[in-house]
Amino acid sequence: MHPTSTSLRSRAVAVTGALALFVVATLLFAGMTGSIHIPLPDIAGALHELFAPIDGATPSLAATLLELRGTRALTAFVTGAALSLSGVMMQALLRNPLADPYVLGISAGSAVGALFAMMLMCATWMVDAAAFAGAVTIAMLLYFLARRDMRSGAAAEGGTALLLLTGVILSAACTALITLMLSIAPESRLRNMVFWLIGDLSGAPFRLMPWIVLAVCVIFALRSARAINVMALHAESAVTLGINVGLLRKGLFFASALLTASAVTNGGSVGFVGLIVPHACRFAFGADHRVLIPAATLLGGGYLVLADTLARTAIAPQQLPVGVVTALIGTPVFLYQLHRLRK
């Protein structure tokens, strides 16, 4: 029996609800886990203390720890969600299931900016600003070099090969610059630079900007979910189904570039989230973007929260860069999926 529209809708609600619960669970887990374990009953009290502080009273240990861990877990969530959503958009834009947020070199551009600022021993906010500026520069360059693929109007046809190739080439150029900087950077800066490249959430303060970017992009993605489906399905004839392909491609390009820039600025180039989470969701819930977009956003966030908790506890008191954890879990999972799909 084919799924009817009501069952599709209720399935989407069920999937989104279950994943939202999963996210809450990961956040609680992240709050509880660490060098000092906070039992679940104490979390409620600590949360109350955090949000309704009593004047003059010194905060309890649980509350202080929870604030630290909570901030970091929330940062992990927003970074993972942004990367995962950006991956979904990039795959739809390039109509290539192997695309990820980094394939067009936007993250490499931001790495060039960030490492350059770090090499000059700039303050943290300048590193962030340089990372963002690097990402925006590459995005703009890409847009102007490959805008033929994103022309508006009915005349927009053909694939996105030009965009993909331009991105890959720009990415290669940025990688060369990164290698150059790593080889001439002073010894004292090297460790931080490498950590940034792998992706690291320790010391990332709580910022509002990534949440705003994520919210705006999720709204855009959900509003165009139907159109994304049509474009992913009927590449040649999406225009004949009333889709403004050029406009949609532009929207997807800028939204995913913005998400990548914001995520990378926040946590460095954390790998694999943007590739494997969309795939895992597609595998489990189908390719319909109306389900895929909320599912991948939530799962991506939850996955990075878990990975980051693992990164800071696995060999405590030492911390692993979270990018290592996501890649070490991600590679075998992705290979397994890939080979099952290709069979």
Binding site: L8, A232, V239
Partner: protein
């Protein structure tokens, strides 16, 4: 339904440019079923894509219901004409039903989910193409012929008065070639739909079409009722190979002449 005025199509640029169609003035009325005939590279697909509004004409213009293509909003146009592309690539593992349902997109811009009437229409379209048993299958696992029938079903679900088909019989087995063609002819006859299709099977084209447009390959063209333009001498010049016609009962069967070389 659809008309062209002084439509000129070229391919290539500079000195290598070739004129495919020179000032085509052509009228297709409601309920007519047209076959576009021509040799490889004569511009059949280019013409069809221009009619669909996928590529702008080099000169002249195309009008649907008397309104130039460029003046139509994309969504409104998508409720007027459907287009079957010659080939498809499926990058993602959508189900057959999702493929057909997405063709209902032009009817609900602001709704997030399809309604049950859309599901009914989609299932009817799948049943009409005898692929309703494949509804839950992943499109990437279908055979070429099955995929083609699903694509035609999607087109039927789009439910437009004008259907533009680029080689609809491609990859279909003999039985389905005949049934698809019959269905198209029936849609024209009974529901007043208009069909313009590209095809290479002259016999099939002759049996279902009311009219034919012959692209001669040098920019000239012949258009008219099947009985007038599907003459062996014209077809021979059009296809650059002598054609013989055999009458079999009420049917006309076209075969290429054997040349002794």
């Amino acid at each position: 339904m659809i008309s062209t005025q002084d439509l000129t199509l070229r391919i290539g640029s500079g000195s290598g440019a070739r004129t495919l169609v020179q000032s085509l003035n052509w009228q297709v009325r409601d309920g007519e079923c047209w076959s576009v005939i021509g040799r490889n590279g004569a511009g059949k697909s280019t013409l069809l894509r221009t009619l669909a509004g996928l590529i702008p004409p080099d000169d002249g213009h195309v009008a649907i219901q008397g309104k130039p293509l460029g003046d139509w909003p994309l969504a409104a146009l998508a409720r007027e004409r459907a287009f079957l592309a010659q080939s498809r690539s499926d990058a993602f593992a959508y189900s057959v039903l999702e493929t057909v349902l997405s063709a209902r997109h032009p009817y609900h811009d602001n709704r997030y989910w399809e309604g049950s009437d859309d599901h009914q229409l989609a299932m009817n379209a799948l049943a009409a193409m005898e692929v309703d048993n494949l509804a839950a299958r992943n499109v990437r696992t279908l055979s070429g012929g099955e995929r083609q029938r699903v694509a035609i079903a999607a087109m039927l679900a789009q439910d437009t008065p004008l259907l533009l088909l680029d080689e609809p019989a491609n990859a279909l087995d003999l039985a389905h070639q005949v049934s698809v063609m019959r269905l198209l002819a029936k849609l024209c006859r009974e529901q007043g739909k208009t069909v313009v299709m590209v095809g290479h099977d002259l016999t099939l084209a002759h049996s279902v079409s009311t009219h034919a447009l012959l692209l001669m390959g040098d920019g000239t063209w012949r258009a008219g009722p099947v009985a007038d333009v599907m003459q062996t001498d014209i077809l021979g010049r059009c296809l650059d190979h002598e054609i013989e016609m055999i009458r079999h009962g009420a049917r006309h069967i076209f075969i290429p002449k054997e040349t002794n070389t």
